[in-house]
């Protein structure tokens, strides 16, 4: 250890102690008034090519984050081509604008910039983070990736092979096996959300550079994208930068993206995926629930916080803090452009698998049968509402919030009204949402675990049990 330097100003601290009244440690301290949430100011402008830009300026650190949001994603791709949206996004940096993939990486990384491209269920996106002095140069490279990717057949071969082997690798990741099995069961093999975002080995094998180029042509153009920026750049600077590289970018008609309705099961399902000798069982309990635009959105946020959205939620309290069956249990509603899944999950010690599944189902039933007590409801609402400032902390957070507004057509004052709308949710609305979305009779349960150890106990739960030998890669 280096030698200790004399710390400063020790005396002030002691003076402060003497001035204070005696402490009451027996109760939580009385709090000052909350500081009202100051939301950052948002400006919008439209480029001459028609692309809309949203900007939040913030100049405290020399960082700029930018996202090109490309609505569509896996929702825009039929199930037999599963993986196309994700593959296309991944291929953007494999050579573009006359530069090879290695040259692009060298230039970007030489700027210390990080540029990622990926696709989710509802969108593809390119995200850039750079220090201010290097932002302009990095943005120019981003635009090359966006507008002029090569989609070289040789590079595509390699990326596709990596992805097919990743699919193979995931067969040994119990969490991925459980998630994928649940999606497949909830949406069915013909729905765009049935297969994983990555695709399967079978669908990937069918995708070539023609398919990738066509997906890019349909989605990545001035008529479909929005640009979101936050950080240490002014509106004038940003406008000039973007006009310089996007001035004559072509607008095309975007094919409509309609996600088919998911099948609704009429009885509960229990599916066991064998993983011989597993130390734990991965449990998923889920159903097709609500879209991002649902009027139930705020009741759902509160409902989920009570059930499994926080550490002190019911699932974690019972399964972890009371019984010690798991390292953690959580739940979430994945709200998308159409009804997305509700998923509750935990990894539990193999011998208690059936007991844990029973607790999941009991907790769903309890939310339907009994109103949430006031104290618990208030805690959940405060937790969800008061965390809002933390969701605006980094420039990356800001861009993500802007993207959420844009992708789901939320108004600019959405975040300003967020806390009020959340706090207005009452126990009756929560129970109504529970009845609508958490009915145990419509739930699908997936267990990835040691069949020899868990099958017989699971049969004791009285649900029809389907055994799958192991996920097909």
């Amino acid at each position: 250890m280096p030698q200790r330097k004399a710390p400063r100003a020790t005396s002030r601290a002691r003076t402060a102690v003497r001035e204070e009244r005696p402490l009451d440690r027996t109760r939580a301290p009385v709090l000052g008034a909350p500081v009202p949430l100051a939301l950052p100011e948002l400006s919008r402008f439209t480029l001459s090519c028609g692309v809309q830009v949203a900007l939040v300026e913030r100049h405290d650190l020399p960082l700029v984050a930018a996202e090109v949001l490309v609505p569509g994603g896996a929702s825009a791709v039929p199930a037999p081509s599963a993986g196309l949206a994700s593959l296309t996004a991944d291929m953007l940096d494999e050579g573009a604008g006359g530069r090879s993939a290695v040259e692009l990486a060298r230039l970007l990384e030489g700027l210390g910039a990080t540029l990622d491209s990926a696709a989710g269920y509802d969108d593809g996106h390119l995200t850039l983070l750079a220090l201010r002095p290097r932002f302009a140069e990095a943005l120019t490279l981003l635009v090359d990736l966006l507008r002029r990717p090569d989609f070289d057949e040789g590079e595509l071969d390699r990326v596709r092979r990596e992805r097919m082997d990743l699919a193979l690798q995931l067969v040994d990741e119990p969490r991925a096996v459980a998630n994928d099995a649940l999606s497949r069961l909830l949406y069915g093999p013909d729905h765009p959300w049935g297969p994983p975002l990555l695709g399967t080995r079978a669908t990937l094998a069918r995708l070539g550079s023609a398919e990738v180029a066509e997906h890019h042509r349909q989605r990545y153009h001035a008529g479909n994208v929005t640009i979101l920026v936050a950080g240490d750049v002014t509106e004038g600077e940003l406008r000039d930068l973007l006009e310089a590289c996007l001035a004559r970018w072509e607008r095309r008609a975007t094919p409509p993206c309609t996600v088919p309705a998911a099948p609704q099961p009429d009885c509960p399902r229990l599916c066991l995926v064998d993983r011989a000798g597993a130390a734990q069982s991965e449990i998923r309990v889920g159903c097709v629930a609500a879209a991002r635009s649902s009027p139930d959105y705020f009741p759902i946020v509160v409902l989920n916080t009570v059930l499994g959205g926080a550490f002190t939620s019911r699932l974690n309290t019972r399964l972890r803090e009371e019984k010690g069956l798991t390292y953690g249990a959580r739940s979430g509603f994945h709200a998308r452009c159409a009804p997305g899944p509700f998923v509750a999950r935990a990894a539990v010690h193999t011998p208690v698998t059936d007991q844990a599944v029973g607790v999941f189902l009991e907790e769903l039933e309890r939310l339907i049968e009994e109103p949430v007590p006031d104290e618990e409801l208030e805690r959940a609402k405060h937790y969800a509402a008061l965390r809002l400032p933390q969701r605006f902390e980094t420039v990356g957070d800001l861009v993500a919030r802007l993207a959420e507004l844009s992708l789901y057509h939320l108004p600019d004052d959405y975040w300003a009204g967020y806390v009020r709308r959340l706090m207005a949710v009452d126990a009756a609305r929560v129970r109504e949402a529970a009845r609508r979305y958490l009915d145990p009779r419509r739930m699908t349960v997936v267990v990835v675990g040691d069949r020899a150890a868990v099958e017989r106990p699971l049969r004791g739960l009285g649900m029809a049990l389907e055994v799958m030998p192991g996920a097909a890669p």
Partner: protein, 432 residues
């Protein structure tokens, strides 16, 4: 007193800080930033898995769990409930050399965090019960099952640490420890550990964000000032200096339930406290950070012998630290060929170019600035630099030190520490 963090003309950083020490030895660091109505509270205790005695591996981490099970004035579960009701987030992590506890809260809830943290620093023992110990032991065992036992390649760190550090070195065992040792832990162990290590003189408290320093210091002194100082920390068990190199190439070959072959190579390298550490970090980035890195460019893209690659350096402080690189092969790949490909790149580092080093420095630089965006990270870094270097301002000089790394420094890293006299090679092959 400077105001919020801000950048200088060349993007150097000036994070404001004040450092005080209470009468009981608790170091208090304050870093105001009124940008958002959020405050980060971080308590860094100088205890981790390196302090565990034989037969009690995993104990520092199990103990960390017990810190959330209530204290004299805070019943079990109330700690989490109060912070969540306040709209805060909280957690703790245990590492080789330290355990940190942290909360991020709306700023008017600062005193809530100070009350909770001071209650468990001063008055944990009255709340300890066999029941909570047994419950948290089960939780931790499930954490081990989930993160290590039920994951492909899940035991890699256990195997590598055992090869890189001798059996009497505090890093020979992992933070998660062994199931048998977790089973052996008793309530008396918890009480002893608490009395020995969880004392004000072995901790740094940092308050970063929307809290005026004068008021934050007054509050910290009020809540923590009366906690007794405690005795000096006992010496580490075992022999903390393993020597600079492993002394050969040691190997471990595992047939396991993994889908693809993977080869990992670990090296003993200078510690985080050593001025040469930045060069090691940059050398690691030249090898494996980003798509223009040597490993990715060559193994994944040009030769297509690997599906993915990785490289990282642990910032450890006891005698030596550890650098790790790995490559995952395609189905049927020969681990010996993967190893040879990795070694070739490692040896090639001895002729790393200035451009490669500049790229790695730029990436390391941006990563560091990004960490400063969140009050919780800023608070953690200030605690760390204060605890380890007696110097919170090191945070503001860190970028300079990274930028000062030269090609010559990186080449020296390759020559001194990445040779065949200092390698631990771990190969995974899919079981038939």
């Amino acid at each position: 007193m400077r105001a919020a963090p801000r950048a200088g003309p060349d993007s150097t950083l000036h994070v404001p800080w004040e450092w005080h020490t209470l009468g009981n030895g608790l170091r208090v660091v304050l870093s105001p930033d009124p940008t958002a109505a959020v405050v980060g509270v971080n308590l860094w205790y100088g205890v981790g898995s390196r302090n565990e005695r034989s037969g009690r591996t995993g104990f520092a981490h199990l103990f960390e769990h017990m810190m959330f099970q209530g204290s004299a004035n805070v019943p079990k579960n109330r700690h989490f409930e109060l912070v969540e009701r306040a709209g805060g987030s909280l957690n703790a992590t245990t590492w080789f050399d330290r355990t940190n506890y942290f909360e991020t809260l709306p700023s008017h809830h600062l005193e809530l965090a100070l009350w909770l943290e001071s209650d468990r620093m001063g008055w944990l023992v009255p709340a300890l019960t066999e029941e909570t110990l047994s419950n948290q032991r089960d939780v931790v065992k499930n954490e081990k099952r989930q993160r290590y036992d039920n994951q492909p390649y899940g035991d890699w760190d256990e195997r590598l640490q055992a090869m890189v550090f001798p059996s009497d070195h505090p890093y020979h065992h992992t933070v998660i420890g062994s199931m048998a040792d977790l089973d052996a832990a008793t309530l008396d162990d918890v009480v002893d550990f608490f009395g020995t290590y969880y004392v004000p003189s072995n901790a740094v408290l940092t308050i970063a964000g929307d809290a005026p320093p004068e008021r934050a210091l007054e509050a910290a002194a009020r809540w923590f000032g009366e906690i007794p100082a405690g005795s000096p920390i006992p010496p580490l068990p075992g022999h903390p200096d393993p020597g600079p190199r492993i002394g050969g190439t040691v190997r471990d070959r595992v047939r396991a339930r993994v889908p693809l072959p993977r080869v990992l190579i670990a090296f003993r390298v200078p510690t985080f406290l050593d001025p040469r550490f930045h060069a090691v970090e940059v050398a690691g980035a030249v090898l494996g950070a980003g798509r223009a890195s040597r490993l990715y460019r060559t193994l994944v893209r040009e030769r297509r012998v690997a599906k993915d690659v990785a490289s990282f350096v642990y910032p450890l402080i006891t005698g030596s630290s550890m650098m790790v690189i790995w490559a995952t092969g395609y189905p049927g790949a020969d681990p010996a060929a993967l190893e040879a490909a990795l070694v070739e790149q490692v040896e090639g580092l001895a002729s790393a170019t200035e451009a490669e080093v500049a790229r790695a420095v730029a990436l390391t630089d941006t990563r560091f600035v990004r960490m400063l965006e969140q009050v919780s990270e800023r608070a953690d870094l200030l605690s760390m630099f204060t605890f380890l270097f007696d110097d919170p301002d090191r945070l503001n000089r860190e970028m300079e030190l990274i930028r000062a790394v030269t090609g010559e420094d990186v080449r020296a890293v390759a020559e001194r520490w990445l040779g065949p006299d200092n390698r631990a090679v771990l190969a995974y092959e899919p079981a038939p």
